[in-house]
Symmetry: C2
Subunit: 211 residues, 2 copies
């Protein structure tokens, strides 16, 4: 039976630790996952590499990809475009690899609407004071940006109900393992096993016919 | 945060090994699960004990329990009544213990309609020839009964789509562990974590208000 990969979208407030979790998941279970790299028009942060954290592209190229339908979803956030190149994701899923996609909620819900079998996981911090502490600890953001991120976090709360799972990032290892277990379990969902169910049905019919 | 147990219904064709799986789960994870014992009007099989496999009760008493609303669901199968006493299940769930319920599909779907957070797992054999072999191996059933059970299995196939998960019983230990992992994961579903989500939302609001 040909196994189809599971498109797993991981979202979470800025500072919830999504990036670190994805890296851990990819290094611990190299054969099970690959990361979908998003395209963006924002400037690279210090230490970010083109093609790794993001494909850093121009506004012109991004808008051309929109027009030619090469993006699974895209959004504009703080004056920058962010989007998911389509072909890469679909090819990987067909080859049986789970694709991890770290995007924000509205993009996630757009993809779920198109591809209902997408798995949506939301990472929450153990508490808001701890989230604030993590954001300030980065030392890369102004107070205004931190306020904007936490306001945005509050706005996003209403979309959590559309997600499948929440995972609290209280401990990196347990949180990584939890996400992995959720993806593994997802393979046992009834709607992902239609082929096997059909085979059993045919065998039961054959028994009744005395074949 | 008060933890609510998960009502987990395990169904499967006769001979799929549900009973053995339940026993294994209960002995390996004693603190996490308890078994809901059904009431039935059928005769005990050799080795079955009242209050353990079933509560073996009279037709009169069973019908009285139906009339007074003491059953979560009930069904008649091969001229016998089978049903789930209600209070036992609800009390255990409130105390945070997961309740395992081994019942047939129509009863399962009735309970899911009343209690949508019920988790439905269907156990399938690796193949129909293997299922037939297991049924004949019991040595307790006539050919007619085996034919009736496999015909019933075929009739049940249409309801599988209403279940949440299927687990193939190819190996007792992995199958037991799989069911356990499904139940554990279920605790991370968004709809089972409303209390925590509400807390984070309140904390974000308090931050914005500068509290």
């Amino acid at each position: 039976m040909k196994k189809q990969g599971i498109l797993t979208i991981v979202s979470g407030f800025s500072g919830a630790g999504k990036g670190t979790l994805m890296k851990r998941l990819l290094s611990q279970y190299q054969e099970d996952y690959c990361l979908s790299v998003s395209a963006t028009t924002r400037e690279p942060r210090k230490g970010e590499t083109d093609g790794k954290e993001y494909f850093f592209i121009s506004v012109e190229l991004f808008e051309q990809m929109i027009e030619t339908g090469q993006l699974l979803e895209y959004a504009k956030y703080l004056d920058n475009y962010y989007g998911t190149p389509k072909n890469f994701v679909l090819d990987k899923l067909d080859s049986g690899v789970n694709v991890l996609l770290e995007i924000e909620m509205q993009g996630a819900l757009k993809i779920k609407a198109q591809y209902p079998e997408t798995l949506l996981i939301f990472i929450l911090p153990p508490s808001v004071p701890l989230l604030e502490q993590r954001l300030r600890g980065r030392g890369t953001e102004t107070d205004e940006v931190i306020d904007a991120r936490l306001k945005r976090a509050h706005d996003e709360m209403e979309f959590i109900k559309n997600y499948d799972y929440i995972v609290v990032n209280d401990h990196l290892d347990t949180c990584t393992e939890r996400i992995h277990q959720i993806v593994v379990n997802e393979q046992y969902r009834v709607h992902r096993n239609r082929e096997f169910i059909n085979r059993i049905e045919r065998e039961l019919l054959a028994y009744q016919k005395g074949e």
